[in-house]
Symmetry: C2
């Protein structure tokens, strides 16, 4: 991860959360070309063409993609194939892949999810069923450290990492994540401690960064300094810039251990930049300009 | 749900978490019959045959199936098709379907997951892309009430419910769920309050039960009485009986508001009953006997 950030001079992660009704025009043509197909197959063709077009437009300005699994999964098997093909397209462009699935479950089930996203599943007759080949998966900590450990075990066997939800960017994060604990600190600070504990087991020799990262919403930058104290070696994945109101300029504490220690995700602000653009740019040109603006703003902080 | 429990005289939910390497013998034959197929297609054919065979064996003793989404998802698009076909088979047998996906995410993403499991996705040219048609989905509360509300909105439009993780059955539940809060109570009790708040908005006229249920591990029955105080109208989904050590006999508080207020899930203890069975019964006969034993034990409590 650190090497990719240095090589591409970018800490920007392109979020892909395609809505079949809001695709770029060229992708709508691709969907229309699936003649006689079921709605799911047509929508999945459009979603794939859209994601590939976005990757082609902004790939030079970003270090990774973050496909939102829900947006593919809801299209069924064709959607799952579109997710795999989107990942392959990103890899061919030299990008890392952070699957945003926010999975969480116990032992064998956590292992099954990790096999599907990061590893492979043992199949009949000593075959192996390849997973999606993502470099990292977002996971949910509610059920405790043993559940995170099952994900990490598969990840570590396949050179892949995790990003654990710590303090998210939505208003409802206050309902539980911000609750003060009797022992001191908040629920999210307790989660940060668990993440630090798991992450201490595996750090990259060169960068010193751990393979267990943390999701921290960019909408509440006052939390970043505290999170950095608790997690000195974790990569922070920072959603919430743009549409949700977060600003790149406020994220400096995330980058304290090094440029690769903070990854800024942006989805709608890039993909729908043309809707905000008075100059009438094409979707691709507007997206490229916005991604490059974010890249330069983040790089200047590091 | 209450009507189905009364009609079938069962509160047992059949958990399906198929491992391609541990299928019933007849299912292995089905997988072998997919000549020349990719490993994922062969494994998915075996998984589907296995799930259908298990449903055929124990369907009369259970009220619902609970497919573990991870176990299908890791097989890619063929696995997703197998999940859809398993659900269709269960429906044809008159069973309800509780999709165990433990999803959790913000606004539009939560909506996308709910569309995929409980509803439908608007597609191009005013088409509609059907979801899996489950009657309920398990969801994770970590990110707060607004995220649960997005799931509930789709569910309510499609006559489907949610089961929110409250106090789970794994040892790691102690790491976060059991943490005492400064305001009093624990993290899981705070989640129970949020579930009660959301559930109060929608209760069935006849049974009085809410459409927002709670997942409570059967491994710690001392929590059930407290959970019932906090959630008088919620259906409890109770995993952890059997392989994880929970006993049906300890679950009486769950059933206090009525028989349909507690659903006992069992997976491996049913599907692998023949491995514990000294009499050399077939997998189907052993599974049927164990499911019927659980059914009678739970019904006797209610």
């Amino acid at each position: 991860m650190a090497a990719a950030v240095a090589e591409r001079q970018s800490q920007i992660v392109l979020g892909l959360d395609p809505d079949p009704l809001r695709l770029w025009p060229e992708a709508e043509d691709a969907a229309a070309g699936v003649l006689g197909g079921a709605p799911a197959a047509r929508a999945a063709a459009g979603v794939l063409a859209h994601c590939c077009a976005v990757i082609d437009a902004v790939g030079d300005a970003v270090v990774a993609i973050k496909p939102q699994v829900a947006c593919f999964e809801r299209l069924g098997a064709p959607g799952w194939n579109a997710l795999g093909a989107t990942i392959a397209h990103a890899r061919a462009a030299g990008l890392l892949v952070l699957a945003d699935g926010k999975r969480g479950d116990i032992d064998v089930t956590a292992t099954a999810y990790a096999q599907g996203f990061l590893g492979a599943t043992p199949g009949p007759d000593e075959t192996s069923i390849p997973g999606l080949g993502a470099d990292a998966l977002t996971v949910n900590p509610y059920m405790g450290l043993d559940t995170l450990r099952s994900f990490a075990a598969v990840g570590r066997a396949h050179d892949a990492g995790l990003f654990v939800l710590v303090r998210t960017s939505n208003p409802g994060a206050a309902d539980l994540e911000d609750e003060p604990l009797a022992r001191g600190g908040t629920v999210w600070e307790r989660v940060a401690e668990l993440v630090a504990q798991l992450g201490a087991e595996h750090r990259a020799p060169q960068s010193g960064l751990s393979d267990i990262g943390a999701v921290l919403g960019a909408t509440r930058p006052e939390h970043l300094a505290r999170a950095r104290e608790l997690l000195p070696h974790a990569i922070f994945l920072l959603p919430g810039v743009g549409a949700q109101g977060g600003r790149v300029e406020d994220l400096a504490p995330a980058f304290a251990p090094g440029r690769a220690a903070g990854l800024v995700t942006a989805s709608r602000s890039i993909v729908r930049a043309h809707e905000q653009d008075g100059a009438g740019s094409s979707p691709a040109d507007a997206a490229r300009a916005e991604a490059e603006r974010l890249r330069a703003a983040a790089w200047a902080l590091g």
